[in-house]
């Protein structure tokens, strides 16, 4: 079996939402603390974290064509890294940036190994290496605290030495911090996928052989996509410790890797906004199902099966198709 020049045969189009919709959404997010209480802010933070996590995953899957089942590994490196740094020096920015970079470094090392294969093999490798990180989180007791995880992590103030020091003690403050970080990260991701780099990723996804003929080092670009996904997973993870005040091994488990996969699948892999919409739907569905039964994964599994069997485009492309059908004049836009 080789990595033959097989086009996946898919003509995936990347759909972007209208500007006014984005403006409205950002405004709603900024105003949220005025309307919603602590719980709403807490859930919103989680949605934002999963959005970043899934966005990175989709740069790898939707844009580059590599399906990773091990993103929780880098999520956990971000979370544990940030937690360790926060326990060391109480500076939020230091912790978040440090955790993210550590995850990027881990993605670089494991990425070199994982991208030696593509397709099914790649998925298996990422799952296995992700679980390697899980087993380290569980067993390397001296560093990670084992089963109990790391506890008593402070929600340190946002400090830029010599300039400002903003307390993050209230949920509202932390919400604005996460929102700001998320918006910047989402904007960067948007620029990335609409740059020549993003086009190269899509070229590799659709026709690896042709990209190689044009002189593109396919492996290098796959590695770049892998590291970007790792950085986003790490950033998402690094936002976690200050929210929960603890980090435990389940953040590294493969079931956590499933979250961005499911969010992306729900929202749609063809659309840039798919993972973000999916992250929101994911928490809505979870919230509704958990009210009726503790066995919510079985329903999630059923949703996955239904999506894969019948609605491979996800919600966003379904909505876009509807929109296009209603306004046929904008077809070519």
């Amino acid at each position: 079996m080789g990595e033959g020049p097989v086009a996946s045969g898919s003509r995936r189009r990347i759909v972007t939402p209208g500007r006014s919709a984005i403006g409205g959404l950002v405004l709603a997010l900024v105003l949220l603390p005025l309307v919603g209480g602590q719980y709403a802010q807490y859930v919103a933070i989680q949605v934002l974290i999963l959005s970043l996590f899934a966005l990175g995953f989709n740069i790898l899957f939707g844009y580059t064509g590599l399906l990773s089942f091990g993103q929780a590994g880098f999520y956990a490196v971000g979370a544990y890294g940030c937690a360790k740094l926060l326990l060391l020096t109480p500076s939020l920015l230091f912790g978040v940036v440090g955790g993210t970079l550590l995850a990027g470094a881990a993605a670089l090392v494991l990425g070199v190994l994982c991208i030696r294969h593509t397709r099914i093999y790649f998925s298996m490798l990422t799952l296995a290496f992700g679980m390697m990180i899980f087993s380290m989180a569980l067993k390397w007791r001296d560093f990670t605290g084992g089963d109990d995880g790391l506890v008593g992590i402070p929600r340190a103030p946002l400090e830029i030495p010599g300039l400002v020091s903003i307390s993050m003690a209230s949920m509202g403050r932390y919400y604005y911090f996460v929102l700001a970080v998320s918006l910047v990260a989402i904007a960067i991701a948007y620029r990335l996928v609409h740059s020549p780099l993003g086009l190269t990723f899509q070229g590799i996804r659709d026709s690896e052989g042709r990209m190689a003929f044009t002189g593109v080092s396919v492996r290098t670009y796959r590695l770049i996509a892998f590291v970007i996904a790792g950085l986003y997973a790490g950033l998402a993870g690094a936002l976690l410790p200050a929210l929960e005040n603890t980090v435990t091994p389940p953040v590294a488990h493969w079931t956590t890797s499933a979250d961005p996969v499911l969010a992306t699948l729900l929202g749609g892999i063809q659309a840039f906004a798919g993972p973000i919409v999916g992250a929101f739907l994911f928490f809505m569905i979870k919230d509704i199902i958990v009210r009726f039964t503790e066995y919510w994964l079985i329903w999630l599994g059923i949703i996955v099966v239904v999506l894969v069997m019948g609605f491979r485009g996800g919600v966003v492309s379904l909505a876009t198709a509807r929109w296009r059908a209603l306004r046929p004049g904008r077809e070519g836009a």
Binding site: M1, S8, G9, S10, F61, G65, L67, F69, L113, R116, H117, R119, I120, Y121, S123, M124, L125, L127, A128, F129, M131, M132, S135, M136, K139, W140, R141, W254, T255, A258, V261, L265, Y295, W296, L297, I298, L300, G301, I302, I303, V304, V305, V308, M309, R312
Partner: protein, 285 residues
């Protein structure tokens, strides 16, 4: 020294569970071209079914194993017939995602039906007792597992190499369309192979019931080790799966003994080395 040799024998029996699950995984991949992420969950289902018939209902050991194979085969058949079959023409990522959905469903279904905490049923009387191996007691049951694994290996080899059915399956594996053209009922071969793979996984799970605790996390743990094995041995290759199982089984036995903290890391390290040196696997053709 004796401890080391003894631990090696213990590792061999662990290797056999791994062999049974990775054999099923490999056969399904070889013929259908699908990686069944839910294969570990089928292993777990086999274990739970055998536990129910043998441990809870107290039926005959062999009957319990047969029933657990049959039950798992039915579930496997339904997975292939009603779901996977419609995805052969689509990007293979969706096949992975589908079987991934099955993991979520099967794991939670097992929790719903059987609950969490478990006792291990007694070893059947005729397999109880110990032999003396390297001056240490070696359980007869472990020897039975090793024998069972080897017998399955021989049966599979004979079945694929020496029977009409095996030739049909190999023909389908190498060229679906051509096999179809010469009158092979390809969909039926696919169903049959998927059921065979499911039964191999179930056999591994069922044989382990008297000595291992079954828990809902079992499937995930097994599938990840099976993946490591197929990466080491080379995907779609039965010999590779067998040798890979031996390597992983024996090394984790030594790992537990020598460096308990990094026992798992050791296996991944070997996988990483194989990837760097021979990414196609040790036994790939």
């Amino acid at each position: 020294m004796e401890t080391l040799a003894f631990q090696g024998v213990v590792g061999l029996s662990m290797a056999m569970y791994l062999w049974l699950i990775s054999a099923g995984l490999t056969i399904i991949f070889g013929v259908l071209g699908v990686i069944n992420f839910a294969h570990g969950s089928l292993f777990m289902l086999g274990a739970y079914l055998a536990f129910t018939f043998y441990g809870l209902l107290g039926w005959n050991f062999w009957l319990a194993i047969l029933l657990s194979l049959a039950g798992t085969a039915v579930v496997g058949w339904a997975m292939e017939r009603f779901f996977l079959r419609y995805l052969y023409g689509v990007d293979e990522a969706y096949q992975l995602l589908l079987t991934f959905g099955f993991i979520l469903i099967l794991d939670d279904a097992v929790k719903m039906i059987w609950g969490g905490v478990f006792r291990i049923p007694d070893i059947p009387a005729f397999l109880e007792g110990h032999w003396s191996v390297f001056g240490r007691p070696f359980p007869v049951y472990n020897a039975f597992i090793i024998a069972a694994g080897i017998v399955v290996g021989i049966v599979l080899w004979l079945g694929f190499e020496r029977t009409w059915w095996g030739r049909t399956v190999r023909a389908t594996a190498s060229d679906r369309e051509m096999a179809n053209a010469i009158g092979v009922n390809v969909p039926r071969v696919f169903s049959g192979v998927f059921m065979l793979g499911a039964m191999l996984a179930a056999l591994g799970g069922a044989l382990g019931t008297p000595v291992r605790v079954v828990s809902p996390g079992l499937g995930a743990a097994m599938i990840i080790q099976a993946f490591v094995i197929t990466v080491i041995g080379g995907l779609g290759n039965l010999k590779g799966a067998f040798v890979g199982s031996l390597i992983v089984g024996v090394l984790s036995a030594y790992g537990t003994l020598l460096f308990p903290v990094f026992e798992l890391a050791l296996i991944y390290l070997i996988m990483a080395v194989v990837l760097l040196v021979r990414p196609q696997g040790l036994f790939a053709r």
